[in-house]
Structures are given as structure tokens and as C-alpha cells.
């Protein structure tokens, strides 16, 4: 490990316990005149959304006014996600109702991107909806470095990630896609970014001026693209990361992770090309292919995964009008 990497790790890696005094954070936030928005993107999360809204609103808006605005942005849930979320006081939006003139695309990245338009905060914090052990640290641990350190633009979460199996919890290390796909790719092309412990974590906070200037893949590649685009522009110093201890979430099948990796690879190769790290990029296939065997018969399953991207929000006329 180089001295710079170690220096960055020492200086830009936090533990949520450093920010336990939320009242102090609120004072610092108010002193700097910052507004903070929290966005939870959802699609059929009725089992966990109630607790997330209840705890984060109650602790971080009512008890300690760290968060100024809290929205659930939904992709069209067919379960009771919207009912439960609004029942506990969240502002609930359908992604398709935000900036309707740009149309609707289905994917988590779409919700995150539209949140930039819908929410007013100087800092936007994103928290996934499937966290079983939600706690205020998932938010204050991420926004605190942005409140305290002006040179930090983007804060990623990392944690122990036990997976929720029917037989109980089992440790997963850094996440399977991270360890098998992302870390090898970063080691090859962006060695400095290997300092980010969990590059795919769904919890992060960033400054508006950063978020509005980067494109958003609407699917699996959104977290990867953020890192690559911001690193290209600002370098590693713009990043920080916070240890949030344990995060309990659903286990995903290996097939689902394969599909996710396929989407991430599309984003990754496109960035490599755009940033001049590889010369020629052939037309990439958009079908993810895998095999199934039933009664001794093998058959190929092909699923289309197209990583569409939204342009930087700053290029959208509706957003510019809103700012005027």
C-alpha cells in the first residue's frame, strides 16, 4: 500500500460512532446554512419500509432536526409499500410523476436521479429500503463528513454484511459482486478506488452540485458510475467512507448477482472507453445468458439487460427552470 493510500484511509475513513452527538451535527449544519434531504428509493418493500420511515423520521427530523426533507421515491410498487410509507408520514412520490416530460424509465437509478429534481437539499442522502436493522446511524454517519469537511463531496457506507438466510445470519465478507467483480476491475484500472471498502453499497450521501453534474445509469451500474465519474473529475480526495457496523439485508441468488454484474460491466466498459483507458470498444451485447438444467436437459436463458443512462440533471430544462 502506498503512503497516499494509507493517508487517505486514515483521513477519510470514519466510524459512525465518531458522530454520535447528533445535536452537535445539527448545530454545525445550521451554522453552515445547509439543508439535507433523505431519499429512499423503493420497489415492493412493504416489509421494511415502515420501520425505516418510522425510525429515520422520528429520530432525525423530530427528535434531532438533522434532515430537512424526507421522500420515498417509488418505481411502481404493487404491494403496500406506498400505503405503509405514507402511513408513517413519509412524502411519497412516484418516479413517473417527477419530470414527466422526460418520460419514465424503470430502475433504482431513475429514482435516485429524479430525487435530485424533487428534493431541495444541498446534501442528498440515499438509503436503500431493504435494511432490516435500520438505525439513525445509516444517515448521520454519511452526512456528517459532508457537514464537517468541505472538501468531501461524496460519502459511501461500508459495514459487516451478514445475509439473512432462513437458517439465520451468515457473514458475506465484502459482498460477492464487490469481491469477485468490482475489486479485481478496480485493481486493474483504478487502483486508488480499491480504498473504497464497499463500492456497491446502496447508502451514500453527496452534495447537490456533484450529483447534478454526473449521468445516472438507471439500473445496476449507478453506484459504479458515480465512483468512476467523480474520481475522474475530483480524484480520491472527494470521497470519504463511513463504517456503519452491521447491515442486515436480503440474500440474493447467484443468478440475480450474475445479472447485476452484467449490468455493471456495461457501465464499467463504457466508462473505460469514455475515459480513454481502452481504445476500441466493440458493440456490447445486451443479453445476459445463463443455463438451466431440468430433467437432464440443458437450456439457455437469455435476459435483456440494457444499462440506459440519464444525462446529468443540470442538462435537463425542467430542472434548470426549477432552479430559476
Amino acid at each position: 500500500m502506498t503512503g497516499n493510500n494509507q493517508k487517505w484511509l486514515d483521513h477519510n475513513t470514519f466510524h459512525h460512532g465518531e458522530f454520535w452527538d447528533i445535536l452537535k451535527l445539527v448545530e454545525e449544519k445550521e451554522k453552515k446554512g445547509l439543508k439535507i434531504s433523505l431519499c429512499i428509493p423503493t420497489l415492493n418493500e412493504e416489509k421494511t419500509i415502515g420501520k425505516e420511515v418510522l425510525i429515520l423520521r422520528s429520530e432525525l427530523m423530530e427528535r434531532y432536526p438533522l434532515i430537512d426533507e424526507f421522500a420515498v421515491i417509488d418505481s411502481g410498487s404493487t404491494d403496500k409499500t406506498l400505503e405503509v410509507a405514507s402511513n408513517f408520514g413519509a412524502d411519497v412520490y412516484l418516479a413517473s410523476d417527477i419530470l414527466p416530460e422526460v418520460g419514465n424509465k424503470r430502475g433504482k437509478g431513475e429514482n435516485l436521479w429524479k430525487a435530485i429534481h424533487q428534493l431541495k437539499g444541498d446534501i442528498i442522502c440515499y438509503v436503500d429500503a431493504d435494511i432490516s436493522n435500520i438505525h439513525p446511524r445509516f444517515v448521520y454517519g454519511l452526512v456528517a463528513p459532508l457537514i464537517r469537511r468541505e472538501e468531501v463531496h461524496y460519502v459511501k457506507a461500508f459495514y459487516d454484511r451478514p445475509l439473512n438466510y432462513s437458517s439465520g445470519l451468515r457473514s458475506s465478507g465484502g459482498g460477492r459482486v464487490t469481491e469477485i467483480l468490482i475489486r479485481p476491475l478496480f485493481s486493474l484500472f483504478y487502483p486508488e478506488l480499491t480504498n473504497i471498502v464497499q463500492p456497491l453499497s446502496g447508502e451514500y450521501a453527496a452534495r447537490r452540485e456533484v450529483l447534478e453534474n454526473i449521468p445516472f445509469p438507471i439500473g445496476y451500474g449507478v453506484e459504479t458510475s458515480h465512483l468512476l465519474d467523480l474520481y475522474d473529475t475530483f480524484g480520491l480526495e472527494a470521497f470519504a467512507q463511513t463504517d456503519l457496523d452491521r447491515r442486515v439485508h436480503r440474500n440474493q441468488t447467484t443468478n440475480a448477482l450474475g445479472k447485476m454484474s452484467f449490468g455493471i460491466l456495461q457501465t464499467f466498459f463504457n466508462r473505460l472507453h469514455a475515459q480513454g483507458k481502452i481504445d476500441k470498444l466493440p458493440d456490447l451485447e445486451t443479453f445476459y445468458r445463463r443455463f438451466e438444467v431440468e430433467d437432464g436437459v440443458y437450456s439457455q436463458i437469455a435476459q435483456e439487460v440494457i444499462e440506459e443512462e440519464r444525462p446529468p440533471m443540470i442538462e435537463i430544462q425542467g430542472y434548470l427552470n426549477r432552479n430559476q
Binding site: 415502515g50 420501520k51 425510525i55 422520528s58 423530530e62 445470519l169 442486515v248
Partner: protein
Amino acid sequence: MTIETNTKDAALESLLKDMPSLIEGLRENRETYLTDAVLLGEIPSPTFGEEDRVRLALDRFRENGLDDPEIDDLGNASGILPGSEGSSSILVMAHADSVFGSDVRHVLNVGSDYITGPGIADNAIGMAAVVGLPNLLEKLGVHLKDDLLLLINTKSLGIANLEGSRGFLETKQRPIRAGICVEGAEQGRLSYSGLGALRGQINLRLPSNYDWHRFGAAGAISHLTRFVSQVMEIPVPKEPKTKMVFGEMHSGSSFNTSPRSGSLRFEISSEDDEVVHEMETQVNELCEQYSMETGIHVMMEVVAKRKNCGIPFTHPLVKTTRSIMSEAGVTPAVDPSTGDLNSIILAGHPGVTLGLTSAENVREANESIKLEPLYSGMAQMITLLRAIDQGLCES
């Protein structure tokens, strides 16, 4: 009827009239206590291992501005919300311990009208009601003359024998006007007496030189079941009301190995302390007889014992509680307590135990509480506090 009685009746009538708006206020402010219930409930808190949960309760006491927030030698967390006069105190308490061990996954699920997860009814929601009381009273505009002494007590369940609440009341030298024990479930529960009870553990062990060829030789499980059959022959009187419950039995570790030891946990409870004593003697005699006849070591260990205590059904505290329940549309279910109420009454204070809401699968991993009844359950607790504060619960 005296002038004073008329005045008290009118004062109670006025409090009862406030209940519908109180229920609405509690519904509107539910985030405060539901969040505390989830945050407290997700911290494992087995009896004798309540430290982490109690620490959060103490943090809340501090955050809510209580005077003298502290954790005592027994691990109890307490704090005082000063009243406008403060000449006496009202004790409101909930136990922190749960039947679930630290190895159980303590994750609660929140739906629109329910919360599910281990220990939410017994007693995370009860704790949350106590911890959140200062904030709620402030938001609801309720101001008391008495000091409010809030207690999250440890070591309540099982073999702990109410050690936490007993110790607190023995050492806390404050004038206490009355006490309320808050339990998550079941709404309508009204306890104003503590039942005389004995909790015992039968330990059965085969000696190291046990003769497996002897007539009647068998493993610990066979002996334990034979012994339980004999204990079940002990007459249990219907009057005074008496009950014997076999709650837990352990022995063995595989399909085909005869175990050499086993244990049985049971409870005898009765309205008459003498009956409990007589039954204890009979179980002890059976142990002795069985040991001598079989060559097996059978011993009874008394892990908890408490005497009957209580206040009369006609006590103004009970009478007022019944009126409040009636106004809230709740039918009182009179149920003598074997819990912390005993500590309050044995310390010489009048007290009742209330249940806040409806629950299902209590003490199972999918324990669940309903939210809709909770608001009236909380309202009955706060109205009772106001009634005690106004002196309506004294003779």
C-alpha cells in the same frame, strides 16, 4: 356522600371527558414511542443481561431532560420528571428483561397497524411507553404536581425473582403516592394484587456408580417423567385458588444415549401462602422418597418465592382504574400478578399493573402487537397518572 367525594367524582369525570382527545393526541404522536419500542426491542435483553437495553433507556432519560438519570447497582435505570409541587412521587415502571436470549435475532417488523418481533409485547412497548412519557406529557400539555419517578427495572423474569424492582424500592427512599407497572399486553389487564408463588427447579441426577442392571433402572428422562407423575398427584385445591404449572423440562442430547441428569422448572401459585408452603413441603418429601427408593439424586431448588399481597378491589386506585378502562371501552380482566407489582405493594405502596394493547404469540419469535388499541391503552395510563396526581386514588 360527602362534599369531598362529590368533588373527586367531578374531577374524575372531567379527566374521563378528556380521554378521546388524549387518544387522538397519542395517535398523532405515536412516532416517538413506536420508534423507542423498535430501538429498545432490537437490543437483546435476557434476564441478567439487560445492560445494553438499559443504557439506551438511560440515554433517553437524559435526552428527555429528566433529573438525576442514573443506573443503580442492580442495573435499573431511573430518572425524575419534577412536578410543579413535588411533595410526593408517582412511580411508573416497566421491566427491561425479555425471555429471549442474545442468540435470538432481534429484528422487528413494522406494518401499518402492527409491530412484530421477539419481545415487542413483553416488554419493549411497555418500556417505550415509560421512556417516552416526559415527551408525550409535554406534547399533550399534561403537567403534574407530583414528581414522576420513571423506572426501567432489570431482573424481573424467571429466576431473577423481581430482584431489580425489589432492590430499587428498598433503596430509593422517596415518598411514593402510587405505582403503575406497565406491560405491553394484554389491554384490559388489571392487576392490583400479587399472588403468593414459589418457583422451583427439580434437579435429578444419576450417581456415578448407578447400577443399570438393577430392577427398574432407567435413564434420567424416564425417572423425570415418573417423578413428575408423582408430583401431579399432589392435590391442588380449588379454594383458595391454587395452580401448579410445569413450565420447562430439560434432559438428554441425542436419540440413543440415556441421559444421566435432567431438570424440571415449575411454579406453584396460590391465594393462600400456607397452601404454597404445604405444597413445597410435599414436593420436598417426594424428592426425598424418590431418592431413597431409586438411588437417584432428586433435589428441589427454590429459585423464587413471594408472598401474597395486594390492595382491595374497592381501593380508590382500583376503582378509578376501572372507571378509566370503562371510558376507554376496555373490559377489565382482573389478573393477580406474579410480576413487579409485588415489589411495589410489598414496599407499602398502592399499585396496579396495566396492559397497553392487544398481542399475539406472546413470548414466541413472531410476537406481535396491534397499534390501534395501543392509543387507548396509552391514554388509560396517562389518565390514571393524572387521577393519582389529583389525589383521586386515595382513601
